[in-house]
Symmetry: C2
Subunit: 142 residues, 2 copies
């Protein structure tokens, strides 16, 4: 089964996995890494590496991180060193993690799984007015 | 200035706004609503309504919620009752909130602002391998 590491600025990683656990049950082989503002890059790098070791049972790891270009993102990207099968998904949101609670993680490899998560994540970003067909107030009053 | 309400299952709403505060400074006129599993729909509805009242200075509100179709989402959608200018964005992630720290919220109306956030959110969801040009391990070893 592909392992999961969720990396965020502040406590969101823990909150996101707790939310999934509350909605659909706990995700197996998933580790949250909530990064504090005073953490050094080397500390983050070590924590991400240890988490990958912890969840990788041989099928590799998908790392979900909140923000492309950030220091935590750089630590995640350092895992793409060829030492194991890893893919990084930037822009993590709850829909991606819920998908992980229902998809079979034994079949796809990390790049395949990451593509599914990317597509689910993008599709999950919608406007309320698109979903109801209701016309927003500002459009009516313009 | 358009007000902001961030609504999530569990504590992610608070964590996301704290992360923005840590990276770019606190967002003005923004209220997090972290919803516990044992909260009733009516309680959520009341909290979302009160938060909208709190942040709406006359220019309306954008509500960012984590998950389309969920009970918290239904509470957010109930704000689209025509009583004020509101738009809902589903699938909240950190990139959207950071955009809100840099965009001028006095000019766009809620639907216009929500469209910007939707586009930023979708663009922020990327694969690490797309960003480096590096070929994932599984592709190499396939």
């Amino acid at each position: 089964m592909v392992g999961l590491v969720v990396v965020t600025h502040g406590g969101a990683a823990d909150c996101l996995l707790d939310a999934v656990a509350g909605i659909l049950g706990p995700l197996p082989a998933a580790v949250p890494i909530s990064i504090s503002m005073d953490e050094t890059f080397d500390e983050t790098l070590e924590r991400v590496g240890q988490a990958c070791d912890q969840v990788d049972a041989g099928a590799g790891v998908v790392i979900l991180v909140d923000l492309q270009g950030s220091s935590p993102y750089q630590a995640c990207m350092a895992m793409l060193d060829g030492s194991r099968a890893v893919e990084v998904v930037c822009g993590v949101n709850l829909a991606m993690l819920l998908k992980l609670a229902t998809i079979d993680r034994r079949e796809p490899n990390p790049p395949e799984l990451a593509q599914v998560l990317r597509d689910v994540g993008k599709r999950s970003i919608r406007l309320g007015s698109e979903l109801t067909g209701r016309v927003p107030f500002e459009e009516i009053t313009k």
